[in-house]
């Protein structure tokens, strides 16, 4: 096999050819799109989002892409969401509720099974999951399932250890809350090196008034 043949094969990735990636789903945030391979969220791959806690705008970040996906034919599956996904807020963000699929498995193993099935089925545009615990093997299975079903898998993981351990996910982001939105650190991406932070304004800028008597506590 000559070098030429080797370079033509899909197995060899060259840093200079980062633009070869399949076009991603526009995230709705141009600053973020510029850093993502394929200029958008990677369809057919697993995205891991590491968050310190719930409620920092982690869903808000995905909403523009989800709204766009929901107008297609495929499902948007939410697997084991930690709280009630509030329908009026989704509808206000232009997400078509008839494409939303909620799955509430009882056991962790069932949760991972449901994520894998949904990714692999090919009928889900996006699969968002809040797994209680995952290991590298499970993540690799999910990554393969996402590739097989051309589905965008998103795993939300909280806790610090997740950031340091390796992961087969194609894209890993870490979110850090800021007063108006979030700082996005890209920990891993295909065809690039870790970058960040990108500061995104999620429109959460509510003028905060500390209780006068409690200012010193915060």
């Amino acid at each position: 096999m000559s070098l030429q043949d080797l370079m033509l094969g899909a197995e060899v990735w060259r840093a200079g050819a980062a633009s070869d990636f399949a076009r991603g789903l526009p995230s709705g945030f141009p600053q973020l799109d510029a850093l993502l391979p394929g200029n958008g969220w990677p369809s057919g791959m697993l995205t891991e989002i590491l968050i310190p806690c719930l409620g920092i705008g982690e869903l808000q970040l995905l909403l523009p892409a989800l709204a766009r996906l929901s107008h297609g034919r495929r499902w948007i599956a939410f697997i084991a969401p930690p709280h009630v996904l509030y329908a009026p807020a989704l509808a206000a963000a232009q997400v078509d509720l008839s494409r939303v699929l909620l799955v509430h498995p009882r056991a962790t193993a069932d949760g991972l099974w449901a994520v894998e099935q949904s990714l692999r089925a090919g009928t889900c545009g996006a699969v968002l999951a809040w797994p209680a615990a995952t290991d590298t093997r499970a993540l690799r299975r999910l990554q393969l399932a996402a590739e097989a079903g051309r589905s965008w898998g998103v795993l939300f993981r909280s806790g610090q250890p997740a950031a340091t351990e390796g992961s087969p996910a194609a894209l890993r982001l870490q979110l850090v809350p800021t007063p108006g939105g979030v700082d996005v650190y890209i920990l891993k991406r295909r065809g690039g090196w870790p970058v960040g932070p990108v500061t995104l304004d999620l429109g959460l800028d509510h003028a905060m008034a500390m209780p006068a008597s409690a200012g010193s506590c915060a």
Partner: protein, 494 residues
């Protein structure tokens, strides 16, 4: 007219052994009430040990100690033949069971549809193998000729009436199923085959053997009509299958289940229908029957698909005892278009439900839902679980999508709603009248007052705020306007 006859030589045995791939030595015996019990038929394993039909039961026991003995059950043979007739309805509307062991299909009209008579015969043969039946298949222009050929084990395909005499001539008289004395008389005359019989003078034969015999030959050769009663297709499917060996493994159950679902597929094909609800009953020797219901989002009849769904269901079920027999009951038929052969037709729509059904089969029906919103002021009542895909509310049952007035929509735009709502508002600790959660919460300046619900007695009066925690999470909190003015956490701006 062209008749296809399915002759099932081993039916008496197969009604017992169809439930498992291969069995230990098993025989079916006949003779009850003081008469000597003899082997009617035995399976291959028993034959290996030297057991033969007609053998005395004790002799069979002497050959194989661990012998499974079944009493011949003509009722279930009859039922099996009827179910087979219902299954064969997918090939032709004219089906006529001919007990004890044969089934006649009139196939002149359906040959073209299935690509010729040979192709049709091959399809039937493959289907029968899937169902667990061994059969001889013969085709002839008259039902009697087809039956005789199949009974004699000649898999001939005669399509022209004038060729019949030559083909039938070589058949032994035994396949006519004559009375014992008649057979003996003819044997005494040196008549061994149908050809011998046909060569005899017609009037002499009628005088000696009775006019019925001449009639039979006339019907077989198509000289006089031979109408057959058409099988009345049942409108519901009820199938049962005894397992030769009681099993409690999923794999052990799937084998007979696949056979039964294949039978169901034929039945549904004949009705141009699919089903949305299957009831599977697993019968145990002593314990109560285990009922498994499978509900589908869209009608289906695909064996592979239904097996896949039932496998997920069965894997979740803890069986109280080994299963002795399974039965399947389907009453709910929905019209289903014949197989779609359109090259460009999207297969997406069908697959869409596949995922839901697959998830439901394993996780339970309630674990997979859709979402919808309701025009309501009270935040906890402004959403509802719905059937996935249709955005239809489950609880009000009306199937109407709650419509928001333009006014309400405009109002909603200005209001900030969190993406996460807690199932129940969580009371917050208070310090100096202000909420505290791992540190003081920073409250937003905007306040939204929500009051309402006096009409159904569940009224609320709250002031909602957006709050920010020390970690940076944004909460949706409220203070009660009445009572103790406590603070609650109600949502998160995810």
């Amino acid at each position: 007219m062209l008749w296809l006859c399915l002759h099932l030589p081993d039916l008496a045995l197969e009604v017992f052994t169809r439930g498992a791939p291969a069995a230990d030595p098993l025989i079916v015996v006949y003779g009850r009430g003081g008469r000597k019990r003899r082997v009617a038929i035995c399976n291959a394993a028993a034959r290996c040990h030297g057991i033969r039909p007609g053998m005395d039961l004790n002799a069979a026991y002497a050959l194989v100690g661990a012998l499974q003995v079944c009493e011949r059950d003509e009722e279930s043979e009859h039922a099996a033949l009827d179910r087979l007739a219902a299954w064969a309805g997918q090939f032709t509307p004219v089906v006529s069971p001919t007990p004890p062991q044969a089934l006649l299909l009139e196939v002149a009209g359906s040959c073209r549809l299935f690509g010729g008579v040979d192709r049709l015969r091959e399809l039937v043969r493959q289907g029968l193998a899937e169902l667990g039946y061994r059969a001889f298949l013969a085709v002839a222009p008259t039902p009697l000729a087809a039956s005789w050929l199949a009974h004699a084990g000649r898999e001939a395909c005669v399509s022209r009436q004038d060729a019949l005499v030559a083909v039938l001539a070589t058949l032994p008289l035994a396949c006519l199923g004559l009375a014992v004395e008649q057979g003996r008389t003819l044997g005494g005359m040196g008549v061994r085959t149908i050809g011998d019989c046909l060569r005899l003078p017609r009037d002499g034969l009628a005088r000696r053997m009775g006019p019925e015999l001449v009639d039979i030959f006339d019907r077989a050769l198509g000289r006089i009509p031979d109408p057959r009663p058409a099988f009345a297709m049942p409108s519901v499917f009820t199938g049962n299958l005894p397992l030769p060996v009681a099993t409690s493994t999923v794999e052990g159950l799937l084998f007979p289940l696949r056979r039964m679902l294949f039978e169901l597929e034929g039945f549904l094909c004949a009705h141009d229908a699919g089903t949305c609800f299957l009831t599977l009953s697993l019968h145990h020797a002593a314990a109560r029957t285990t009922q498994v219901g499978l509900e589908l989002v869209a009608p289906s009849r695909d064996t592979v698909y239904l097996v896949m769904l039932l496998r997920e269901r069965l894997e979740r079920i803890a069986l109280s005892a080994p299963v002795e027999e399974i039965s399947l009951h389907v009453t709910d038929l929905h019209p289903l278009a014949p197989r779609n052969l359109d090259l460009f037709a999207p297969v997406q729509a069908a697959a869409e439900e596949t995922l839901i059904e697959r998830l439901r089969a394993r996780l339970g029906r309630g674990a997979v839902r859709g979402l919808d919103q309701v025009a309501e002021h009270r935040p906890e009542r402004a959403w509802i679980y719905a059937e996935p895909g249709c955005g239809m509310a489950i609880r009000n049952g009306s199937g109407r999508r709650p419509r928001q007035s333009a006014c309400a929509e405009r109002k909603a735009e200005g209001r900030k709603r969190p993406l996460w709502l807690l199932h129940e508002p969580v009371p917050l600790e208070m310090r100096d009248q202000y909420p505290y959660l791992d540190g003081m919460l920073a409250l937003g300046r905007e306040r939204e007052r929500i009051e309402g619900g006096w009409w159904d007695g569940l009224d609320i009066a709250r002031d909602y705020f957006v709050a920010r925690s020390r970690q940076g999470a944004r909460f949706w909190v409220y203070r009660e306007l009445s009572g103790e003015h406590r603070w609650f956490l109600h949502g998160l701006f995810g």
